[in-house]
């Protein structure tokens, strides 16, 4: 089911300014969708447009079937939002705050209390819920922000940089939680990150923005598929890497150094090649690498297939 749809959505903050979001046409479905892009790419702008908090300069969009310009209130009733910046009053107890946010989202008092306790347990704040939020760590604050986005049982959640400021362990916990919301809770999630690599593990679909433009919108699988590229590490004399590269070139392979590794492009296969042919080509490539190393007398530390990563989208498509 499509939960978010945009058509040529464009936002300029000033008439002379470059667009913060330019001509964006995407569809977002159930599950977890990652919205990725460097700082300033337009992720938060998109979320505010979807909530009806900003008016688009041109183009249109709908969230859960409500138009983003005309149906702002209906959208804000049905959607949970976790902003990227601090948004917690320090002098409130977490439980009181989440109950309160449930109330202003339209829950009756008893339901708000019950659900606040529920979601605080789900985000892992059950024990700390009676503490004032001013004393919370960044990880606890992010969980409290997430709890208030879930308290009214939204039909969609928009999470703006939920892992921002977290240490690696807390980031993993948060990402696991995001995945649970999208899959176990059954609430579609749009989650943003400026860290290109982190969302690929938890999202079903990834949208990549660059300077307000759509770079890609694809199933995560497409990003992670075996790219056919082979990475090789050799040891030996100081110039072992360079000699290896030259020898590979002599055998008709395109390669380039990448740090301490050598990156070898896949052999181009005919268009009608099937999976089996690809595997065969791959094995042959590895054999060639092994033979070349043996001929040169350099040690082969490792030969590995490279799977795609989000970073590569940028390397491939953004001119440096």
């Amino acid at each position: 089911m499509t939960v978010i749809q945009t058509r040529g959505l464009t936002k300029r903050y000033g008439s002379g300014a470059p667009p913060a979001l330019a001509d964006l046409t995407v569809d977002v479905a159930d599950g977890v969708t990652g919205l990725v892009g460097a700082n300033g790419a337009g992720k938060s702008t998109l979320i505010k447009l979807l909530l009806g908090l900003l008016a688009p300069t041109s183009g249109s969009g709908s969230v859960l079937g409500h138009d983003i310009t005309a149906g702002g209130e209906a959208i804000r009733r049905a959607v949970g939002y976790m902003p990227e910046h601090d948004c917690l009053p320090p002098d409130m107890r977490c439980i009181d705050f989440v109950v309160h946010m449930g109330r202003v989202s339209g829950l009756p008092a008893a339901a708000a209390r019950e659900r606040a306790a529920d979601v605080l347990r789900h985000v892992g704040l059950a024990e700390e819920r009676y503490r004032l939020m001013g004393g919370y760590s960044t990880g606890m604050k992010q969980r409290a922000k997430l709890a208030q986005a879930l308290v009214h049982d939204p039909q969609l959640v928009l999470l703006d940089e939920p892992t921002n400021g977290l240490d690696p362990a807390a980031r993993d916990d948060m990402l696991a939680l995001v995945q649970r919301i999208g899959h176990d809770f059954g609430i579609p999630v749009l989650v943003t990150s400026h860290l290109l690599g982190e969302l690929e593990r938890v999202s079903d679909h990834v949208i990549v923005l660059d300077a307000g433009r759509l770079l890609r919108s694809e199933e995560t699988q497409a990003f992670l598929a075996d790219t056919g590229v082979v990475l090789v590490e050799v040891i030996g004399a100081a110039d072992a890497q360079q000699r290896m590269g030259e020898a590979l070139a002599a055998r008709g392979l395109v390669s380039r150094p990448r740090g301490s590794l050598i990156e070898i492009d896949p052999v181009t296969l005919p268009d009608d090649a099937d999976g089996e042919a690809a595997t065969r080509a791959h094995d042959q490539l590895r054999d060639v690498v092994r033979d070349t190393a043996a001929d040169l007398g350099v040690g082969l530390v490792r030969v590995q297939a490279q799977t795609g990563r989000l970073e590569d989208v940028f390397r491939e498509e953004v001119p440096a």
């Binding site: 908090l53 939002y81 009053p89 109330r103 202003v104 339209g106 529920d118």
Partner: protein, 295 residues
């Protein structure tokens, strides 16, 4: 549920429950926000020590009322002691302290802590939100100024004052208190939504309200002295306290407590209307402030 797991931050695998029950209309949400705002001014729903200041101030403003009622009952003094208008004027310092200290709870806090971005992503829009916050402050101020007046009135009646004599007098004082709450709330809301720091908001509100009162009184005296009475009456617009005092005096026939009141009833009504129009302008500014914070 195993407690040790929570401590390490591991998420429990307790199934998520959907909510299929009733949801409130926008009016219902507004009502609940209004109530929680009034309570927050008195420290409810916040830390324990947040309740101290508002209740200490409320206690202080009650003292004269309680003492007067006590004197009337025990010593049997006459009802002439019940001067509601002077109560309004006499407690203005405490009202200023109360408003200055508590308005930031409703205005600075939302904007400063960023909670505003959560509120604006909820069904109520920026305008409704700003107005509800303001209305919460109005109601809280009313609770603050009406409580001692009612104690005085009810206590006075039980000590033998005549209901029919007291009613019109207290009614004017109550009406004055309502106008005062509307105006003072607008001033304090504007000051504390612009100065995001609590300390600055408190100092700013005290400055505008108290120094404003002093300046108003001085200006009016000077103008009266110079014989420019009309100008003097309009200067009342600079201070809600001076205005309410002058207007209740001319319209309600009470004694003016702060400076002399205008003689013409028409001027009185004109002054109130102008003050309320200024208040409306202030509210538009407040709404614009919240709108700009939304995006």
């Amino acid at each position: 549920m195993s407690a040790p797991a929570e401590r390490t931050g591991v998420i429990h695998d307790i199934g998520y429950r959907r909510y299929a029950g009733a949801r409130m209309s926008s009016a219902g949400i507004a009502g609940s926000l209004l109530a929680s705002g009034v309570l927050a001014v008195f420290g409810f729903g916040r830390s324990g020590k947040a309740k101290i200041l508002p209740f200490v101030l409320l206690g202080m403003t009650m003292v004269p009322a309680v003492v007067m009622v006590g004197i009337m009952s025990f010593i049997g003094l006459d009802a002439g002691l019940l001067n509601y208008a002077s109560y309004n004027a006499g407690s203005s310092f405490l009202v200023v302290l109360f408003v200055a200290a508590q308005a930031p709870v409703l205005f600075s806090r939302d904007l400063r802590s960023g909670v505003i971005s959560l509120y604006l992503a909820r069904p109520l829009g920026a305008s409704a939100f700003a107005l509800i916050r303001w209305a919460s402050l109005v109601l809280a101020i009313l609770a603050f100024v009406l409580t001692p007046l009612l104690v005085l009135f009810i206590g006075g009646l039980s000590a033998g004052a005549s209901f029919t004599e007291e009613l019109p007098r207290v009614a004017w004082a109550l009406a004055g208190a309502v106008v005062l709450a509307l105006l003072v709330a607008t001033v304090a809301a504007l000051v504390s939504s612009w100065t995001l720091r609590r300390g600055l908001a408190i100092a700013g509100t005290i400055m505008v309200l108290l120094v404003g009162l002093g300046v108003t009184v001085a200006l009016k005296e000077t103008l009266f002295f110079e014989g420019m009475d009309t100008a003097a009456h309009w200067v009342s617009l600079l201070s809600p306290f001076a205005l309410v005092d002058a207007v209740t005096a001319v319209l309600g026939g009470t004694d003016a407590q702060i400076t002399s009141a205008p003689e013409s009833v028409a001027t009185g009504w004109l002054l109130v209307s102008t003050a309320l129009a200024l208040m409306a302008v202030g509210l538009l500014l407040l709404i614009r402030r919240y709108r700009s914070k939304g995006a």
